[in-house]
Symmetry: C2
Subunit: 469 residues, 2 copies
C-alpha cells in the first residue's frame, strides 16, 4: 500500500473504516467451509473498507484508487464460499451494501442497486406487483443481488430457470470500469456473461436488471425415504413433471437430515433420507397425487398442513438446502467439508448410485435438482467427512473418473474453481475494463499468467464467450 | 328419439333450438380438416340444442334426458378437430356456451364456468391480477375452457408447461353425472384425468379450476432459414434455453409459410422455412443474443421492432401455429389434410430428418416444440398433400415404422385417436357417472365393446389411470 493517507484524503466524505479488526471482518466470506481455503486465506485482509452510497461515489473511489495504484475488491454481503470477495493483495474492500435501493419494478423485471439484499428486493416486488426473483441462494436473507450475480451461480429456483449461466437470467448489468476516468457500461444480452460470476475482476457491478417470476406462498414439504437412491429417483421423476410448479427440489442422504436439521429432527428417523420440496400452493394436490404413486414415499412434513405449533421455529426448507445444508452440518460437526459435483444428464441417477456405492458414509449425498441445458438433472453438494487434503483430492479425482465433473470449492481462482472459463474475449474485456489489473487481483489466472492455456477440455459452468453454432 | 315433445316440456324455460339447420350447425366441429372424418361424419346431427345458463339447469336437462333415454353430447364452441362434440346418436346437443362466467381469480388460479371463452378469461385475469392461462389452443379467441379441457390436449404454452395430460395443469374439474338424480363431482389431483380429454363421455364438465401464469405482452418473432432441418435444430436449441421465457415455438417447412401465411408473405421467400416464436418482452435481448449464434438464422419479423404500418392486419403468431397452420392451409388448398405425430426425445431431430427425407413435399413439416415428460421435444402437425385414404394410412404406418407415433386425427373415438387410453379405472368411472351410456355415445370403444383389449402396447398421450411406480 503506497499512500493510504493520501487515498483517504481523496475519498473525504465517503464512509470509510480502517479499524483492522473491522476491516478483517469485512475481508472475509464463508471460505472456511473449505479446510483448504481456511488454511490458505485465513490471514487475508484489506487495508480499508470504503462504503460508497451511490454510483458517483463508486466512481470517485475508483478514480482515486487508480491514481494511487490501490487494488479494489468489490463486496456484497460476503456470503460467497470460495473467497470470491477476499482482497488477496490488500487495498480497498469496496463494500456495496449501502447501495441497496430497488430502482424500478415492472412486469417480469426488477432493477436494483448491487447492494440490495435479495429478500428485501422480493419484499418490495411482492408488495408492489406479486412478483419475486427467479433465483436466489440459500443465503437469501443476507446476500446482495450484486454479490449473487458477481459470485453466485444459481440455487433456489434453478429447478425452474436453470442458473445465472443461462441467457435471460440476468437482463442487464451496470459496471464501473477501473480506469483513470472510469466508465459506466450497461451490459445486456450475451455481454452480461463477461461479468457474471467473474468475482468483480473486470468491472464493479453497481446495478443489475433481473427477470422476475410470480411470487407465491410456496409450500414446504419434506418427503422421507428409507433408501437414498429411491429418494433420488422420486425427485428426478418429480422434477420432470411439467405441470407441477416447484421452486426447489433437493435430496439429502441419511443420516444428514436427522443429524443436521435439528429443528426438523422430530419428524425424522436417523436412517431416513429426505426430499425437500418447495411447491406452489395451487400445485399441492397434484404434488400429493404424484407422491402417492410412490409406495416408499413418506410425506413427514407439509407446511400447509402443519399446525402453528409444529411450524414454530422451523426454518424454511430453502435454509436446509444448497450451501445451508453444509452450513448446518458444520455447526454440528466442524470437521466436515463438501464438494460441488455435476451428475450429467441423462445418466444422473446411475452416477449418483455409483459414487454412493464408492464412498458410502465418507461422502453422504446431497443432490440439488436443476434444469441444466434444458434437462432436469442434479448437482451434488455432498458432505465430505474430511481426513486430509490428499484424500479430498482423491475423492475429487474418483468423481471425475465416474463421469461426475467437479467444480472445486477448495480453490479461489475462477479457473481452478471450474465455474468460469476464461478465454480471449473475457481477457480482452478485462484489459479494457481493468487495464492495470487492480480489480480483485489474484482471482483470474489467465490475467496473471500470460501463458495460461484456456483451451483445456474441461466442463465449465460458465463457458467462454467465443461461441457460434 | 322416443319423445322429443315430452322432453321439451320437461325443459320448459331453458333456452332450446330445434330448427334443423341451426341444430346441424351446432352439431359440427372442425372434423372436416380430415377427408376421412368428413365422409364419415358429414351427416351427423343432433335433434335439439339445449343451452343451460347455470349448473342447476344442466342438472334439469340431464335428469330429463336420463328419464327419456335421450343421448347428451356436451359442447363448447365446437373448435375440436375429431368430431369430439358431434352427436353420433342424435339427441340433445348440450351447448354450454351460455355458462361463461369467471367465478374466481386468485394468485396462480382461476375458476371459470365451462363455457367461458379462453381469451375472455385472460382478459379478466389480466385486468385483475396480471395473470393468464398457462395453456390455450390456437383457437384462443373462440374456444371455451370446458371444451379445451374435455377435448383438447395442449398448445400455446406447452413449450413451458407440457400439456393437459400433466398433473397440475388442471387443478379441479366440476362434472355433473348422468343419472336419475345427477350428482355434482369435484375431481382434483389425479382424478381430473378421468374427464380430461374424455370428450364428455363420462360426465358433463360444468366448471374448471385452472392454474395461471403471469401475463406478459408477448413478442412475436419469425426467424427464417433456408433449410428446414436447420430451423428445427435452432428451435430445439432455443427450447432448451432455460432462462429465455417462451410461450410458443413452432417450425413450419417451406413452402408452407409463404403459401399459407398470406399476410406475412411479404417478409418471406417461398424457399424459407420459419420458426415462429412467442417470447417474453424482457427476454427479447437474450433471444436476440442466442439467435446471433446461428449464422443461418434470419429474423424477418419482430413485433416489438415492427412499425405500426407493418403490424397492421397481421394475425398473432399463435394464429399461425398448431391447428391454425392447417386451417390457413385449407383456406388456400382445400385438398390438403394433416397428421399428429410425436418425435420422441432424445432423437427428435433425427426422426424429423428421416421423415422429411422419406416424404419430401408430400408431407411438409410442421413442428411444435413442447415439454414432454420433462424434456423438450416436438410434436408434428405436418401437412399431407392428400391423395387417398390408403396412402394416408400408409404414411401413418411409415411414421410409426420410423419411431414416430401417430395420434390419428382421422378417427373420432378416444382410443383410435390414440390420445386417451381407457382402462378398468376409466371404465369403472364411466359406469358410475353414466350408467346408461347416454353421454356422447359412440366415442369410447371400451364402453361399446365389452371385449375391448385396453392392454395394447401403444403410446397414448393421456395414459390409463392404473399407475404406481
Amino acid at each position: 500500500m503506497t499512500d493510504l493517507a493520501a487515498l483517504k484524503r481523496d475519498l473525504d466524505g465517503i464512509p470509510m473504516e480502517d479499524n483492522p479488526v473491522l476491516v478483517k471482518q469485512k475481508s472475509r466470506d464463508f471460505f472456511w467451509y473449505s479446510p483448504v481455503l481456511k488454511r490458505r486465506l485465513d490471514h487475508v485482509t484489506g487495508d480499508l473498507v470504503v462504503s460508497p452510497r451511490d454510483r458517483d461515489e463508486v466512481i470517485r473511489v475508483v478514480r482515486a484508487c487508480f491514481a494511487h495504484g490501490v487494488p479494489i475488491t468489490p463486496r456484497g454481503a460476503g456470503t460467497g464460499n470460495y473467497g470470491q470477495a477476499m482482497p488477496l493483495s490488500g487495498g480497498v474492500v469496496l463494500n456495496l451494501a449501502e447501495m441497496n435501493k430497488v430502482v424500478e419494478i415492472r412486469p417480469g423485471v426488477v432493477v436494483a442497486e448491487a447492494g440490495a439484499i435479495m429478500e428485501k428486493i422480493d419484499q418490495e416486488t411482492r408488495a408492489q406487483s406479486g412478483q419475486e426473483l427467479r433465483l436466489h441462494p440459500s443465503t437469501y436473507r443476507t446476500a446482495t443481488i450484486g454479490g449473487f450475480v458477481a459470485g453466485g451461480s444459481g440455487g433456489i429456483g434453478s429447478i425452474r430457470w436453470g442458473g445465472l449461466r443461462d441467457l435471460g437470467n440476468v437482463i442487464r448489468v451496470e459496471v464501473v470500469t477501473c480506469e483513470a476516468e472510469p466508465r459506466v457500461l450497461q451490459l445486456t444480452g450475451a455481454d452480461v456473461a463477461k461479468v457474471v460470476h467473474a468475482y468483480g475482476t473486470n468491472g464493479i457491478v453497481t446495478a443489475v436488471e433481473m427477470p422476475l417470476a410470480p411470487a407465491y406462498d410456496w409450500v414446504d414439504a419434506v418427503v422421507a425415504f428409507d433408501d437414498f437412491l429411491a429418494a433420488a429417483a422420486f425427485a428426478d421423476a418429480l422434477g420432470n413433471q411439467d405441470g407441477i410448479l416447484l421452486k426447489n427440489l433437493a435430496v439429502i442422504a441419511a443420516p444428514l437430515p436427522y443429524d443436521y436439521f435439528l429443528r426438523h429432527r422430530r419428524f425424522l428417523r436417523r436412517d431416513q433420507s429426505t426430499v425437500l420440496v418447495m411447491v406452489a400452493p395451487f400445485a399441492v394436490e397434484a404434488f400429493a397425487a404424484f407422491t402417492r404413486r410412490f409406495k416408499a414415499a413418506d410425506v413427514v412434513y407439509r407446511s400447509d398442513l402443519a399446525t402453528e405449533e409444529e411450524r414454530k421455529g422451523l426454518p424454511p426448507v430453502y435454509e436446509l438446502a444448497w450451501n445451508h445444508t453444509t452450513l448446518r452440518g458444520l455447526r454440528v460437526d466442524p470437521s466436515i467439508t463438501y464438494l460441488q459435483v455435476l451428475y450429467p444428464f441423462p445418466h444422473q441417477l446411475e452416477r449418483v448410485a455409483a459414487v454412493t456405492k464408492l464412498f458410502g458414509d465418507e461422502v453422504p449425498g446431497h443432490l440439488e435438482f436443476v434444469r441444466f441445458d434444458g434437462k432436469i438433472t442434479c448437482f451434488g453438494l455432498p458432505v465430505v467427512r474430511y481426513t486430509s487434503e490428499e484424500r479430498l483430492e482423491e475423492i475429487m479425482r474418483l468423481h471425475d473418473a465416474e463421469g461426475c465433473p467437479i467444480f472445486n470449492p477448495h480453490r479461489y481462482t475462477l479457473e481452478e474453481g471450474g465455474m468460469k472459463q476464461t478465454d480471449a474475449v473475457q481477457l480482452a474485456f478485462k484489459r479494457e475494463a481493468d487495464p492495470n489489473g487492480l480489480l480483485n487481483p489474484g482471482k483470474m489466472i489467465a490475467w496473471e499468467d500470460p501463458d495460461y492455456d484456456f483451451g483445456a477440455e474441461k466442463l465449465y459452468l460458465f463457458p467462454g464467450l467465443e461461441r457460434t453454432e
